[in-house]
Amino acid sequence: MATSTATTSSISSSLVDTLFQRSLDDLIRSLRSNPSLEPVLISRALAEIRREIRSTDQDTKSIALEKLTYLSAIHHVDMSFASFHAIELLPLTTHRCKRVGYQAASLSFNSSTDVILLVTNQIRKDLGSPSDPVVALALEFLSVAATTQLSMDLVVDVHNLLASSRFNVRKKATATVLRLLLECPDSVRIVFKKLVDNMECVTDQRIVSATVGVFCELSGLDPSLYLPLAPEFYKILVDSKNNWVLIKVLKIFARLLPLEPRLAKKIVEPISQHMRKTNAKSLVFECVRTVLSCLDGYGNVFNLALDKVKEFFISDQDSNLRYLGLLALSMLKPVYSWVVEENQTVIINSLDDSDPNIQHQALNLIMGLVNESNVIELSDVLVNQALKSDPLFANEILGALLSSCSRNFYELLVDFEWYVSLLGAMSRNPHCTRGEEIERQLVDIALRVKDVQPDLIQTARDLLIDPALLENPFLHRILSAAAWISGEFVEFSRNPFELVEALLQPRTNLLPTIVRAVYIQAVFKIIIFCYSSYLDKIENSELSCQNDSVGKDQVFETNSMTNSGCDDDSISNLLKTDDLFTYKCLSHMLNLIKAAVLPLSVCDEVEVQERARNVLGLVHVLQIPVPETETSTSKDMNHITNIVRLTQNAFSERLGPVPTNAQEKVPVPTDFELLDNLFDIKSILGEDDAEIPTFSSFLPRGWHHQETKVEESEEQPLESTSFLADHRKRHGVYYLSTEKHETVGGDEFPQANNYLDASITESVLDLTHKSLNPSSKSKTTKSRPVVIKLDGEESVLICDPKLGKKKGKDSLQGRDENAASLNEESTSVAKEISREAGHGNSVSRHHGRRDKKHRHSKHKNHLHENDDPKDGKHHKNPHSRYKHRKRDDDGSSTGLDVAQQSMDVPDLLL
């Protein structure tokens, strides 16, 4: 062609290329013979192709392009550089070359290929060609690579072919239209009529088939546009013998039915006809799919479809049909869970299937089945299944169980005791990697469900004591929760010493430092508990037998251990019989602790080190020899007693969950005076958080807590608040927003039923009602323990269950941390006590701690004492961060933190 312009050298090289060019077969053969040299061979071939493709000889060029196309399709070689060469081949008259050009173009062209603009005219010419194969090449290219511009330019040409008398061309043109319509939706006006005509074509079913395929795809985009064509589709559904077409038409109807329910009545009959008559499983399955998802209101056809699904299950030789049977059941709306239940055995057996896909489907179906009545049965099946399964599926099972059972505040659960043991069992699954979620739920349940706390500590003990669990890093989070529970609810423990041993076992060095810190903190709490129990015992025996000598193994009295308002007699009785708290046991325990914790006091990790030192400090103080007999009034003894009592108070406040909006509900007593400069905060904080609750009453928490505060608040000048105000003014940006809530200590979980008995002011009642979830399950099921839900949490949970519930844990950990170092802004008591303990001062004893009645009367008094300014002072505490966060209109914000602290959240809970 262009020889006149070519140089001699290029002629000779082109000639050489032509003469010695390797064909595609040669290339494939060479690649096949040396698979190890593939990259080398490919790059060599590529260099060759780059040279050959510039050849002026069309055969050489086309062979080069053919090889390049092959390499690109199979070996992912970039062929974008050859775009123009592909276009060069398109106008050629040799069909073979043309085909190579079109194939290369189909493979490599996309909307970013610039030379694609050059092909428009060539394609138009080919579309008009009298030769079928040529037209077919052009149409195939368009169906794969048409751009918006090409579609716009060529839609008319393709449209003309839609009425072609050459059926092969007409069929391909129909299929090509889909691509043009997707690229350029406006062209639907041009082609729509011809498309509809093609659907009614009686002479060639292939054209109907292609058209239905196009409509099936288009109806997926906007079904409403194709609703008017329903009669035509119906006709095909009744008349067509072609299963492919029927399947497509069924898909179209499945999309149209939601828009036009009246269609259902019409198509029910043909569908059941097809289901009865056809042998093709694919068509049966499509009918089943359509019926189960769209035609569930039609009894006969619905039952027929279910029968077909059962047939799928029965033919258990074919895993495909089993899979599809499960898939079909999963399409059912939740209303038809009885259908799934009917097939429960099949589904449970499918959990054992060798195919993970079938297992997965079966698990999904089972999780959809779980309800209050069968949750225990199914969960046990699943947990056992998880033990047998491979790690991946085992964790899938565990994850599904955990999320189902915790859904909407554990609404499925009645028997929490069982659930807690189930969590334990899950942790023991050797494949378990869901530690984080189990940790969260353990802590969450501990906070929300008071009744289950004794069982929790049992589960926690079992987990802590098992040295094998320490090896699995995924379980460390669970162990952290177990350690926290063992410290927090130690009073329910049958044997605290056993817990201490478990917490300090040598293998705990496998734990990450953050978990070790929790372990050590738990030890701290247990020491305090044991000592206070021991002291209670001594006091009691002194009381009961004034002049008798107090033996060191005196029986531990029941009522002596009602610390933190826990009146659980059964536990105390247990301890009574066991008689654990003897001097010997305690000193043994201290020695053990000292030995185990001492190395940690030089630990690199500050969290561990600090806590270890705390524990050692405590041990040091307590290790003063405890008097054997009759010397219990000695100075040492008093000292120890004071320290133990004080420290115990730091932990005796039981945590309750607090809703995110608790702060807004805090009542503002009007009688609190603030220092003047606090008025400034108003301008600092802005107006957004100025919404003040209208009621002015709150529930106090444990009385001894207040007692402590009385003394403290008197010493603590109000200056601190002004310091903080200044500080806040300067560093306001670093403070968290007002939504942030704090965990308030409370010594008792409020129960929904208690509210009505308690003498609460009307406003509180009102609030309680508002916060009560009327549909709460806890009201309907009698035996179910109360699950504390927070007001406002409901809505959060609906949109994101995790988000809402996380809060409980976060706050809890915060508290744990605080309590640990005793110097942060946790409860005021913790703060005081640490200070007092540090100075070795003695603080007045909290008499009558065990006297419940007394406490109750205190509550009542307190409630009606809002107008007593002194009362306000009582509540004044150094915990002033919150003071500034929320303040009332008249600036008397002191009460806010009071309420915040002393609310004890009962009225905010539920």
Partner: protein, 143 residues
Amino acid sequence: MGIRFILLVNKQGQTRLAQYYEYMTLEECRALEGEIVRKCLTRTDQQCSFVEHRNYKVVYRRYASLFFMVGVDNDENELAILEFIHLLVETMDRHFGNVCELDIMFHLEKAHFMLEEMVMNGCIVETSKANILHPIQLMDKAS
């Protein structure tokens, strides 16, 4: 688009034919083929022929040393696709006579040709073996 891609892969995981009905870059193709091959080739004969992958399904079937894999939309009829795969194999069988991996390797353009006749734009347009093979036979005669 019903069918998104058709892949023929041998037991060693080497691609023998790849036809995509939506544009993908070379890297995407390579990644996708790698993932699917890894997923499907590890499965046993007793396991079902459907694998969910990303936001679509892969329906595959093994014939001798070759895996035929078809990527389809989630609502596509799996059994129909299996029938399609079988039809494709039968068509190749009729043309090559006892088709094997080598036939497809050395006659890739013919395999593509058959696919072009059967599928356009992801829609199955031709299911008659005679009709599919007719143009190829014409071409063979001409050359």
